[in-house]
């Protein structure tokens, strides 16, 4: 009788923890793999000059559209092949990480900050403040984005900060909408009423009682936006109003290879894979972060 006890005990523990061994490994993987990918990409972006085997913008017309090393006809000199101007795709992808990641992170930080601040202010203060801010948001959403980007590009010249500015001006409105909705829900909650009974100022309520409770949806939207911003930057680059050539960004690389997709698939495919990796990793990481930041889910 007694000898069976430990056995029961371990089985029980598994049941209590709610997860089988393989499920827990899966859960750990969905955290570690995306984090490792993201860290590697960020390190790649930082150390690009040391990692890239070739100059990313050096044209070599004799070596156009060389296939990757592991495909017949490829050489070890260009591991991922070359594009239509004979530039090394690996080197361009490594340098492209710099531009693509920094554009999307900067834009997300700026839009989330502005959108959250305006959303909370509109939702909590109500009245005319809300009416004004929300009409402003509507106007921003109704404004054709490409026209604005072109306008900026023409007036201050194309470049990195023009792209960041254009995408930021276009991107904050959805945050403001979302956060305002969440704030409206929280404004009528019992604990906000309690804070008002205590005499807490509007500032304090917005900062301490409302902001921490809108972080969940905020993080989800922010991580979803990583991929979207990389694609948006690509779209601008494709139209010639993004990062000016020959500087590489993943988006412009995909766009460059579009015409050659039938004879040189590798030109678009490798930067495309990178974009997909970042988007997926960002989403998984966002899910994990959201669970971590919610005290109600932390123990699970």
């Amino acid at each position: 009788m007694l000898s069976t006890m430990p056995n029961i005990d371990t089985k029980l523990k598994l049941k209590i923890s709610g997860l089988t061994r393989s499920a827990r490994i899966m859960r750990a993987m969905t955290f570690y793999i995306p984090v490792i990918i993201l860290v590697l990409l960020v390190l790649t972006a930082i150390f690009a000059p040391w990692l890239a085997p070739h100059d990313p913008i050096k044209v070599s017309l004799l070596e156009r559209r060389l296939p990757p090393a592991f495909v017949e006809g490829g050489s070890m000199k260009y591991l991922l092949g070359t594009d239509s101007l004979g530039r090394d795709i690996l080197s361009r992808a490594i340098y492209g990480a710099r531009i693509s990641l920094s554009v999307s992170l900067l834009v997300i930080a700026a839009t989330a900050f502005v959108g959250t601040a305006l959303g909370i202010a509109a939702g909590y203060l109500g009245g005319r403040t809300e009416a004004f801010l929300m009409r402003f948001t509507d106007i921003s959403m109704a404004f054709p984005g490409l026209v604005l980007a072109m306008l900026l590009s023409v007036s201050i010249g194309p470049g990195f900060f023009t792209v960041v500015l254009a995408l930021s001006i276009l991107g904050w409105a959805p945050y403001a909408r979302l956060i305002r909705g969440e704030t409206l829900r929280l404004r009528n909650s019992d604990f906000v009423a309690q804070a008002r009974i205590n005499g807490a100022s509007a500032w304090r309520i917005m900062l301490i009682h409302i902001f921490p409770n809108v972080i969940n949806p905020l993080i989800i939207v922010m991580t979803m936006a990583v991929g979207f911003m990389i694609l948006a930057e690509a779209a601008l680059s494709y139209l010639g109003i993004g990062i000016p050539p020959p500087d590489p960004s993943w988006g412009s690389m995909v766009a460059d290879g579009r015409g050659d997709i039938d004879r040189a698939w590798w030109i678009s495919t490798f930067p495309g894979i990178l974009i997909a990796l970042v988007v997926l990793s960002g989403n998984f990481f966002g899910d994990w972060l959201r669970d971590k930041m919610d005290p109600r889910l932390r123990q699970l």
Binding site: D190, F191, Q194, I197, N198, R204, P212
Partner: protein, 335 residues
């Protein structure tokens, strides 16, 4: 009566009802319609009534969460509405605290218990971190929680424990008056007695006044010194708790009491006849003429549907009912 802490005089709250694109006002919901009450130092007043009777609106008015349409609230003899913003912040808000009905929603889920209880202190006092820390531990001890629970989040507690936390928060500033909005109705029956006992102990210890909002008469009877029965925005009967429960005068009060399992062994009449009220409470948008209760009253007489009754004082009770207009009717209808 020099011992009065807070007095409400002829409080009314009308909510405008608007219609159409131009927000034309088509009428008013008379949530609270001319109620008066007094709360003495160290005593408990309960506001009792069905949903929609206006008791929560009255409590919100006392907490200054709703601006009244008319009427005055006197706090220690001073008109609360004449306080300046800074006077409110120093002389009124810290001294009038509240415990809300639902302990699951009255706390910020992102804050630790330590910070939840400390919130009133942080907002209203200039205490140092160390002083606040020790005060929080003291408060936890007073409401029967242990100091090591200070770093937990609210979701890690049961309903009863959460209500204890809410009580600790309400006491943080040493208030004079605590508004208890259905303090135990969201709790399991087995926990209610604990919380009510805690509240009574604290009342004795600190000479606290309570304004209790409740619909459960057992709670009210256990907690209160005086009781105001509300119906459709008006107080229909008001008096000392024991007297009112033993000898309810207003037909509505009698119906409420007969509907609850409330009789104690020492009560004379163990077989109180059940009075079942029919129908719903009429809309406060368009209250019936005369006595507001006459549509559901089993003892209604002709005059009830025409003339609003005046307040009559009978013993320690005040009642708004035509049955007591003529002193001769009084004895006949009290049973």
């Amino acid at each position: 009566m020099a011992d009065i802490l807070l007095e409400g005089r002829e409080l009314t709250k009308y909510y405008p009802v608007t219609k159409g694109l131009l927000q034309r006002v088509i009428g008013y919901v008379r949530a609270v319609d001319g109620i008066s009450f007094t709360i003495e130092h160290g005593k408990t007043l309960s506001l009792v009534g069905e949903s929609g009777a206006g008791k929560t609106t009255a409590a919100k008015a006392v907490l200054l969460l709703e601006r009244l349409t008319s009427g005055t609230i006197l706090f220690e003899g001073k008109d609360v509405y004449k306080f300046s913003k800074s006077q409110l912040k120093t002389q009124y808000r810290p001294r009038v605290q509240s415990v809300q009905q639902n302990p699951w929603s009255s706390m910020n889920p992102r804050m630790r218990v330590r910070d939840i209880i400390a919130e009133p202190l942080v907002v209203n006092t200039k205490k140092t971190k160390e002083e606040i820390r020790s005060r929080v531990l003291e408060l936890l001890d007073q409401v029967g929680l242990s100091p090591d629970q200070a770093d937990y989040y609210p979701h890690e507690f049961s309903g009863g424990q959460r209500q204890r936390i809410a009580v600790a928060r309400a006491l943080a500033l040493n208030p004079s008056l605590v508004v208890l909005d259905e303090p135990v109705s969201a709790l399991d029956v087995s926990i209610r007695a604990q919380i009510m006992n805690l509240l009574k102990d604290l009342q004795e210890q600190y000479n606290l006044s309570y304004l209790v909002i409740a619909h459960n008469l057992a709670t009210v009877r256990f907690m209160s010194h005086s009781v105001a029965i509300m119906y459709l925005g008006q107080i229909v009967e008001y008096g000392e708790a024991e007297a009112l429960f033993l000898k309810p005068l207003h037909p509505y009060t009698r119906a409420l009491i007969s509907a609850s399992i409330l009789t104690l062994p020492e009560d004379e009449d163990q077989n109180v006849q059940k009075i079942i009220l029919s129908g719903e409470m009429p809309s406060p948008l368009n209250p019936p003429p005369g006595c507001r209760f006459h549509t559901r009253c089993s003892e209604a007489i002709d005059i009830c549907s025409k003339v609003p009754p005046e307040v009559r004082t009978i013993g320690t009770q005040q009642v708004k009912c035509h049955l007591y207009d003529d002193p001769g009717v009084q004895s006949a209808s009290s049973k």
